[in-house]
């Protein structure tokens, strides 16, 4: 059977993680022509709480639309790390926002740390693009889609006035992760 790659974005409601998942799925399916399913689960709150967005990418049609064993997981908050890092497969990867996730989840997976919110605020200039910084970093970390496809999907979703900001956020996340990977 064909390879199925599962990515989970988790954090607090309002951090744009569902959008990050949608962008990744668009990059995979609309731009790269693979199969992708994006799904999410959320609580009653529109802001706060723990939120997750999952993307399954495959080169053949996807049956089960939810994660089975997660290949790569992002956790932006401690709550989401505690709640959602459990499903990562052996040898998988976890990216955490090191300013917010102090208790690192333990398991048979490799943990990568980046100050994602801080990077968005201080380096890129706006906290609101933290999800795009995280997306850039996750794409660099996983090769789930090409750098170009990811960028194209990001830019197709944002209004004209925010194109440069998002381009910068995506590049920053991608480059920072490449440095970590060495």
């Amino acid at each position: 059977m064909s390879k199925r790659f599962e990515i989970r974005f988790s954090g607090a409601g309002g951090q744009g993680l569902i959008t990050a998942g949608i962008i990744l799925a668009e990059a995979a399916t609309i731009i790269e022509g693979k199969h992708a399913v994006q799904s999410q689960s959320y609580g009653p709150e529109a802001r706060g709480g723990a939120s997750k967005s999952e993307v399954i990418i495959s080169d053949s049609p996807i049956d089960y639309p939810k994660a089975t064993v997660v290949d790569a997981c992002l956790a932006m908050t401690q709550e989401s790390a505690d709640k959602y890092a459990n499903g990562i497969k052996k040898g998988g990867v976890l990216l955490i926002d090191s300013d917010f996730v102090k208790n690192e989840p333990k398991g048979d997976f490799k943990v990568y740390k980046m100050p994602i919110m801080r990077t968005a605020k201080d380096v890129v200039g706006r906290e609101i693009v933290a999800n795009v910084v995280a997306l850039g970093a996750m794409i660099a970390l996983t090769d789930a889609v090409s750098r170009e496809a990811g960028l194209k999907a990001v830019l197709s979703r944002v209004p004209e006035a925010f194109i440069e900001l998002n381009r910068k956020a995506y590049a920053q996340g991608f480059e920072d992760m490449k440095k970590i990977l060495g």
């Binding site: 399916t29 399913v37 994006q38 049956d63």
Partner: protein, 379 residues
């Protein structure tokens, strides 16, 4: 020219399917997890001169849809369990008065308010028996974003062809997940429009069975003036308590769907590796996707397992399930409820093989591993 493609939610695809089918009127009321259907249509319908109205409650939404449909428009409403419960009164009205309309039921956990943001499949019996009295039901159960589009189009076609309410029932997972969709070109999928009366206005009767089991429905606002009521009625549409009319009308309204001719135009199933199967998994909606995954895994282990996926849930695929019951060792029915469609499978199989139910109602989907474990319980 390449087809237009998009990554989109099931609920959004539903709204686009409705537009493709020629929907001109939407009456709704906000409820999770179906709201995206109305959000898209509130934007798109006015662009084509269609009407979107958010009514004061679910009952009113259903009423507005029936009223608008009587003027000849193709009409839609969308809701979820608690809202569908409220609509039942007028779903029954649309059944007896024979007014075409489409109802989207996006299933969450229940009963009552239950789990609004979690998936469920516990409203499939509601789609059949929700309203009181004997009546036929058509319910379609798509399992992917693309299929929600095509089944919504088919729901409109069946509503118009059979002159009755048709439900499209799918769980929150397929309603909210995003997948690639290819938009069919106009004309690529069949779109059926309402049959017009062939007799002059003076001779028109809205329930004239000389035209078969589905008499043509004239539109209000034309020269065809007629009466519509929720009471039992004679062929001319006026209330009656005459036994022969009441009996004939009730039987016809059930027969037009459940009779052999009716069924033939409605039933639609998807079978996967059933030819040589010794065990069949009967699954619909998002659960069928877990089941297909499980079938592939179990086949790798050498087990002859197949998937029967009803796309038309109601009328129930009686003949085919009865035949499969005689072919296989067992039928496994996973569904996100505590036992609903398995009762239909049992009823139809009549003991020819064991029927094993796998229910999950904790707000999480049934995963392939659970189905594989259940299949392995078969002796």
């Amino acid at each position: 020219m390449a087809k237009k493609v998009a990554l989109m939610q099931g609920n959004e695809a539903c709204a686009h399917g409705a537009l493709y089918a020629g929907c001109k009127f939407f009456g709704g009321y906000p409820i999770t997890p179906s709201t995206e259907v109305s959000e898209v249509l509130s934007k798109e319908l006015p662009k084509i001169g269609g009407k979107f109205i958010q009514m004061e409650d679910e009952i009113a939404a259903m009423a507005s849809v029936i009223g608008a449909s009587l003027t000849g428009d193709k009409c839609l409403t969308a809701s979820s369990g608690p809202g569908i419960s409220l609509k039942q009164e007028l779903i029954g009205y649309a059944c007896i008065a024979e007014v075409p309309c489409v109802i989207i039921s996006v299933m969450r956990g229940g009963p009552s308010t239950g789990m609004p943001t979690g998936p469920g499949q516990s409203d499939v019996m509601q789609a059949k028996w929700g309203t009181h009295g004997d009546h036929a039901a058509i319910a379609l159960a798509p399992a992917s974003v693309q299929e929600i589009f095509t089944e919504t189009v088919r729901a409109f076609n069946l509503a118009e062809k059979y002159r009755m309410p048709v439900q499209v029932v799918y769980d929150e997972i397929v309603g909210h997940m995003r997948e690639r969709i290819e938009f069919p070109e106009p004309g690529e999928i069949e779109v059926i429009d309402r049959a017009k009366p062939s007799v002059p206005p003076a001779q028109y009767k809205p329930y004239d069975t000389s035209f078969g089991d589905v008499p043509p429905l004239a539109a209000f606002g034309t020269e065809y003036r007629y009466h519509v009521t929720g009471l039992n009625k004679a062929p001319d549409g006026f209330p009656t308590t005459k036994a022969e009319y009441v009996d004939a009308e009730e039987r016809r309204q059930v027969r037009k769907v459940d009779g052999e001719v009716g069924r033939a135009g409605i039933e639609l199933n998807d079978e996967y590796l059933t030819d040589d199967a010794e065990i069949i998994i009967f699954a619909y909606g998002s659960t069928s996707r877990s089941a297909r995954y499980a079938v592939n895994e179990l086949r790798k282990e050498g087990m002859k397992v197949g998937l029967f996926r009803p796309i038309t849930l109601w009328p129930f695929p009686e003949k085919r399930i009865a035949a499969l019951g005689k072919q296989v060792k067992a039928i496994v029915v996973p569904e996100m409820n505590l036992g609903q469609m398995n009762l239909e499978v049992e009823r139809v199989v009549k003991g020819a093989c064991p029927v094993l139910h796998l229910g999950r109602v904790d707000g999480e989907p049934i995963n392939p591993g659970q189905i594989m474990d259940k299949v392995k319980e078969v002796k």
